[in-house]
Symmetry: D2
C-alpha cells in the first residue's frame, strides 16, 4: 500500500515538475538587445582592448544575455559617409538601438583638408539617418563630439564650430525625441577642472581627439546609463 501511495505521490510530483519545465521553456529567454555603435575612428577604436565599447561589454557581463554591443566605426567618417554605408553596416544587422557618434571630422577636415561638412548639409544628412532608422522602429541615441584639442576656455582652433555642430545635434535630439550623450558639454567642463596646465591633450584624449583611458571610462559610463535606462 505504502508503495502505491509513494508511487502516486511520485507521479504527481513528477507531473508538477514536468509542467513547470514545460512552462519555463515556453517562456523563452528574451534575445539580447542589439546596439550598433555607428561612427568614426573614435568608435572604431571603441572595440579595441580598453575601448569604450569593450568597457561597456565588461560592465554588462552579468547581463550579457540582455545586450549585444556591435561596433560600426570607420576612421575618417563624416556624417555623409555614415549615410552611404548605413544600409550595409547598420540596417543589415537589424539593431534595436543605434548610437550615432559623429562630427569631429565634419568640423576638423574643414581646416585640415578643406573637406569638412557645411552646417546645413551636416543637419540634412544627420536628419536623413535618424529618419531612416526611426522608420524601422529603431531607437536612436545621439552623441555630441567631445573635443578637437583639449585646451580649456575655448582656445582650440575648432572650438567655435564644435560648439555650433553640437548645438545642431542637441536640437535634432529634441526634435526627434532621441536621448543625447552630450560629450561636448562634459568634456569642456571636465577639461576646465582637470587641465591646470592647459595641455592640448592627455586629459580625456591621447591626441586631442581620440579617447585615452579616462576618456573611454567616461564615454562608457555615460552611454551605459542611457542604454540601460531605455524602456
Amino acid at each position: 500500500m505504502i508503495y502505491i501511495y509513494y508511487m502516486k505521490h511520485l507521479i504527481r510530483y513528477s507531473i508538477s515538475i514536468l509542467t513547470t519545465l514545460i512552462l519555463l521553456s515556453s517562456i523563452p529567454a528574451a534575445p539580447p538587445k542589439k546596439v550598433v555603435f555607428f561612427g568614426d575612428s573614435i568608435t572604431q577604436a571603441g572595440v579595441e582592448p580598453g575601448g569604450y565599447i569593450t568597457k561597456m561589454r565588461q560592465a554588462l557581463k552579468g547581463d550579457s544575455s540582455k545586450y549585444s554591443l556591435i561596433g560600426a566605426g570607420i576612421g575618417g567618417n563624416k556624417v555623409y559617409d555614415l549615410y552611404l554605408r548605413m544600409e550595409d553596416d547598420v540596417l543589415a544587422k537589424k539593431p534595436d538601438v543605434v548610437v550615432i557618434w559623429v562630427g569631429v571630422n565634419d568640423v576638423w577636415h574643414k581646416t585640415s583638408h578643406g573637406t569638412g561638412t557645411d552646417a546645413d548639409k551636416f543637419e540634412k544628412f544627420y536628419t536623413a539617418i535618424i529618419s531612416k532608422l526611426q522608420q524601422k522602429g529603431i531607437k536612436v541615441i545621439l552623441c555630441t563630439p567631445g573635443a578637437i584639442g583639449e585646451k580649456k576656455n575655448f582656445v582650440n582652433r575648432n572650438d567655435g564650430d564644435l560648439n555650433a555642430y553640437s548645438e545642431i545635434i542637441r536640437n535634432l535630439a529634441a526634435k526627434y525625441n532621441c536621448p543625447v550623450s552630450d560629450f561636448r558639454k562634459t568634456f569642456v567642463e571636465y577639461d576646465l577642472q582637470n587641465n591646470p596646465s592647459n595641455a592640448d591633450s592627455g586629459i580625456l584624449t591621447s591626441d586631442g581627439v581620440h579617447l585615452n583611458d579616462a576618456g573611454n571610462d567616461l564615454a562608457a559610463n555615460m552611454l551605459l546609463k542611457i542604454i540601460t535606462g531605455l524602456k
Copy 2:
C-alpha cells in the same frame, strides 16, 4: 450572285481594314525617351531661357515625341548631395537616361568654404550613383566639370584639382562603360584658342563657372550628339 460576290469582298476588305487598325493600335507610338539632367547650379540654370537644356529641347523640336528632357539641378550640390536626393529627384521619374554633371563644387568649396569633397570620397559616391542607376537599367552619361576660372594655361587656382577630378570621372566612365562628355578637355582647348587677353571669365562662362551663351551652345551640342547617338 454579284451581290453576294461584292458582299464577300466588302467583308474581306472590312476585315482587312479592321485587322490593320487593330494592328496599328497594338503597335503604339513609342513613348519619348526620358532624360534626366542631374547636377548643380549649372544644370539648374540649364532649364532657364537660353540654358543648355532649353537649347536642346529647341533643337529636338522635330523629335519632341522622341525625347523628354527633365532638369534636376540644384545650386551648390556636390556628389554626395546628388546621392542623397537621387531616390526622389531621379529614380522617382523613371528615366531612361541620366546625365550626371557634377564636380565644380566638390573642388571649389575646398578653398572657398573648406567643405569640398576628398578625391576618394568623390569616387566612392560617384560610383554608388552609377551603380544604383545601372542596376535599374538606366543609361548613364558622365560629364567632366568645365572650368573654375577661364584663364588659359593652367593658372586658375583650382585647375590642378579640376584636372584630377576630371580624370577620376573619365576612369569611372571607362570602368562602367558610360559615354562621357569631356567638358574639361573641351573648355581648356577652347579657352586656349579664344582667350587672347587671358580673361578670368566671359569666354564660355559668365563668371568663370556658369555658362554664358557660347557655353550653353557648346554644352547643348556636345550632349545632343551623345544622347541622340545612344542605341
Copy 3:
C-alpha cells in the same frame, strides 16, 4: 613823495608781471601728444563720421591742444602688412603713442581665403613691431580683436583662434609692459549679456566684425581711458 612811492611800487609791480609773462612765454605750451592708430579696416572706419577715433576727438575737444589723433588703418591688413608699412605710415609721423589693433584678418582669412597668419608668425611680427616702436621711445598700446561673429557662448567658427590670438597679445603686453585694451574679453562679456536672440551681428558690430555705433562708443571709451591715463 607818495607819488614817487607809488611810482616805485608800480615799476616794481610791472617788472614782476613782465618777468612772469616772459617766464610763462618761455615755458611754451606742450605740443599735443601724437597718437597713431595702426590697424585694419576697423581702424580705417574709425576716422569716418561716427567712427571710434572721431568719437575720441570729439570727447577730447576741450583738450584738443593736448592730443592729436591720427588714423593709420588699411582694410584687409594683417600683422605682417603693418610691419611692411610701419616706416612710412607710423614712424614717419613721429608719434608719441601708437595703438595697435590687428588680428581679425590674421584669423579670419585662414578660413575665408586660406591666407591667415600662423600663430607663431603672428607673435613674431607683432614682437618686431613693438620692439621697433619702443626702441624709438614710443609708447605702445595693444588691443585684442573683438569679434568675428557675435553669437554668444563660443559658437562662432573662429572663436577658438580669436581667443588664442588674443591670449598671444595679452602675453606680449605683459612681456613688453604695454597697456592692453582687451576688446575680446569685453565683447564676449557684452554679447553674453546683450544678445538674447543669439544674433550673428548687430550688438557691437554691423556685420560680425566692423563696429556699429554701440561698438564705436565702447571702443572710444576704452581707449580714451588708457590714452588719457598714460604718464
Copy 4:
C-alpha cells in the same frame, strides 16, 4: 761719367720697378663675389651634403677665390618671412648677389594650413625685397618655385596657383631687370618627359617639393649658368 750715367739709369729703372710694384700691390686681387641664397627649406637643404649649393661649390672649386656661396634658407619661410629677416640674414653679410627662391609655402600653406600668401601680398613683399636689395647695388636673381607634387599634365592640387605665382615672379624679373631661373617651367617639362607612371614624387624631388639628387643637379646647373654669366 759712365758710372754716373749707369747710376742714373739704375735709379730710374729701380724707381720704375718700384712704381710698378706699388701700383700692382695697389690693384689687389679681387675679393670673391659673395652670393647669398635666400629662401625656404629647399635652400636650407641646399647647403647639406649633396645639396644644390654644395654641388655649386664643388663645381666652382677651381674658381673658389672668385665666388663665396652663402646659404640663407629657413624651413617654412614665405615671402614675408624673408622680408622680416632680410636685414640680419642677408644685408648684414654684404652680398654682391642675392638669389631669391621662395613661393612653395606661400601657395602650399593655403591648403595645408590656411596660412598661405595672397597673390597681391606676395607681389608686394617680393617687390619690397627686390627694391631694398637693388638700392644697395646688389644683383638680384629670381627663381620660380619648382613643384608641389610631380604628377604631369597639371593634376597636382596646387598647380594652378604655382603657375600663377610663377607668372608673378617672371613679371617682377622683367620689371626689375633681374635674371630668372625658371624652375617651374623646367620642372613641368622635365616631369612630362620623365614621369611615365605619373608618380607624385621621385623624379626631381624626394617628396613632391624637396629636391632629390637629380633635382639638386638640375638646380645647381641652372643657377651656375646664371651666376657665372653675370657681368
